[in-house]
């Protein structure tokens, strides 16, 4: 594991008195794919949202490419960065949401172009060419001028992946990307995600698709009650779970 892209160090998140994420340590290297599994309410999604600072961790810190996410150190204390600086950090992290969240007033290609044009300030011609290439990569080039509401859930999610990819991220975060999809559309999205493993990105996937995790993950992390219970290579964690809780969980989902 050379030069970790993401280092999560003692991250906790509390909402009022409820501890949702309980001092999690995790690091993911460049080119590595990590799947986080666990029962609902285990804090998987919240942990993922702490990584790109959509949630502000209550304790601990996330380091992405050597920089503390969302904070700077001032006189030995963490001080939250201004909005613009956090935005700059987020521009290098792609995120795919459970409910796609495509910009509903923009066409497919405009959705993908929004980042390169408005965040990175690329010239339109070059950005458009790249956006179309990315759309082709997820098999959505033929729908470039459609509105999001005209697409199926699986198609919307593939566009959402393209939108994240055109920002050329070093880290991709997937938040239950297939949980809101009809069963017959899960496959096409997983197929696109499979195609990303060779790109050399660090990838963190929160998922309920155990079979998919087993197939693509270099490591699997099992979370329960906000804490990491078990972690290791996919094959050993999923086939020979050591903890009782993971054994019970796998029995239920498999």
């Amino acid at each position: 594991m050379t030069d970790p892209t993401v280092e999560i160090a003692g991250v906790s998140k509390r909402f009022g008195d409820t501890v949702v994420v309980d001092s999690v340590d995790l690091s993911v290297a460049r080119g590595e794919t990590v799947c986080i599994i666990g029962p609902s309410g285990a804090g998987k999604t919240t942990l993922l949202r702490c990584i790109n600072h959509l949630e502000r961790p209550s304790a601990g810190a996330v380091i992405v490419n050597g920089a503390i996410m969302g904070y700077k150190v001032v006189d030995g204390a963490l001080v939250e960065l201004p909005d613009r600086a956090i935005a700059r950090q987020r521009a290098r992290i792609g995120m795919v949401f459970q409910h796609f969240n495509l910009f509903s007033h923009l066409t497919v290609v405009e959705n993908v172009l929004e980042g390169p044009l408005r965040v990175r300030g690329e010239p339109r011609a070059a950005a458009t060419a790249r956006a179309r290439k990315t759309l082709a990569r997820v098999g959505m080039a033929h729908k470039a001028d459609a509105m999001p509401r005209e697409l199926s859930g699986g198609q919307q999610q593939r566009v959402a992946i393209a939108r994240a990819l055109t920002m050329e991220p070093e880290l991709m975060l997937f938040d239950e990307p297939t949980s809101a999809l009809d069963p017959e559309m899960v496959g096409e999205v997983l197929e696109v995600m499979r195609g990303l493993t060779g790109l050399g990105l660090a990838t963190i996937i929160v998922t309920h698709e155990i079979g998919f995790a087993n197939e693509v993950a270099d490591r699997v992390v099992f979370m329960d009650h906000g804490a990491v219970v078990e972690e290791g290579p996919a094959a050993s964690v999923l086939r020979n779970p050591t903890s009782v809780r993971l054994q019970q969980f796998l029995e239920k989902v498999l």
């Binding site: 790109n52 959509l54 909005d83 613009r84 935005a87 700059r88 950090q89 987020r90 521009a91 290098r92 992290i93 792609g94 995120m95 949401f97 409910h99 969240n101 495509l102 910009f103 509903s104 007033h105 929004e114 980042g115 408005r118 965040v119 990175r120 509105m147 509401r149 959402a160 939108r163 994240a164 920002m167």
Partner: protein, 307 residues
């Protein structure tokens, strides 16, 4: 004979025999009867108006396009559009203040909306008309300090300015509530998706949230515009010659009260009709990019023919 009779009275239906039976719409006898009754009432009401000798239709025709009335329309429209333009600007600022993180800004915005929704427009109008009683001089300068420019209120605050200011204070409070609700109606996921691709909040608001919120706000804002248009008739109280007051000035001289009120009615109906058509076109243009379809086919046909 007996068998066919027993078949007819049997409740069971042979489904196969219905396969080729044509479907006819039911005769809605009662609906038809009430439609006829309503049409009769309408026809009677209309003829009682049209043939009413008090109408003096030739007077209506004479004044419908008279210069004074047309000038009045110009004033009415100017008041309406100036008010709406300023109200949208101020309402937008108020809405952003209301959803901002700062409790001070939120409180100020809330207090403003509370005050100007509470006050009758007429009260605000008369207050502004009499502004010189409160503030004889308007000054530009350092607060609590040196004044650079000072002018008499009466020269700046003409009745027209007073009217626009009063209507704007009132309408901006309502517009801000419409805009605030529209912004809050946008799914939180849109903010998050914008943040995730690296947009700062302000740009996310302008590029992603606002365009979607405006679509939601268009029908209620168009509604407000119509209300503002009619509300401008209140300027009769402070002697601004809008559509209504121009007509009043005429009938105070020639006593043709009813025909001139008919002229006013006709024009208000036409102006609101134009605004409605404009609203429809706006909604249709936005519907092309999604969200909602036109509501009235009749309006759709009229506008399509006109454009």
């Amino acid at each position: 004979m007996t068998t066919s009779e027993s078949q007819r009275s049997a409740p069971a239906v042979d489904a196969m025999s219905l396969a080729d039976v044509p479907i006819r719409p039911p005769r809605r006898t009662r609906t038809r009867a009430s439609v006829i009754a309503i049409l009769l009432v309408c026809a009677y009401a209309l003829q009682s108006l049209v043939r009413n000798p008090a109408m003096h239709w030739h007077v209506v025709g004479h004044y419908l396009f008279s210069v004074d009335i047309l000038k009045g329309i110009e004033v009415t429209l100017l008041l309406t559009f100036a008010t709406m333009l300023l109200s949208l600007l101020i309402g937008g600022v108020l809405a952003r203040m209301r959803i901002s993180g700062s409790p001070v800004l939120r409180t100020i915005s809330t207090a403003y909306v509370w005050t100007f929704r509470a006050l009758p427009v007429l009260v605000v109008l008369v207050v502004f008309f009499n502004l010189a009683l409160f503030y004889p001089h308007l000054t530009i300068g350092v607060p609590f300090g040196h004044a650079f420019i000072s002018i008499r209120s009466q020269t700046v605050v003409t009745p027209m300015i007073a009217a626009i200011a009063a209507f704007t204070l009132n309408e901006s409070a309502y517009a801000s509530e419409i805009l605030r609700a529209s912004i809050l109606a946008i799914d939180k996921g849109q903010w998050e998706a914008a943040a995730a691709i690296g947009m700062p909040r302000r740009r996310a608001f302008r590029r992603i949230i606002l365009p979607q919120a405006i679509r939601i706000a268009t029908p209620p804002l168009a509604n407000d515009t119509i209300n503002v248009l009619k509300g401008t008739a209140l300027v009769a109280f402070i002697g601004v010659s809008d559509l209504l007051y121009s007509a009043q000035q005429i009938y105070q001289i020639n006593f043709e009260v009813v025909p001139l009120l008919i002229v006013v009615t006709i024009w208000y109906v036409i102006l609101v009709g134009i605004l409605t058509g404009f609203q429809y076109m706006l909604e249709r243009r936005m519907a092309r990019k999604g969200i909602w379809a036109p509501r009235s086919r009749t309006v759709a046909r009229i506008v399509e023919r006109a454009t």
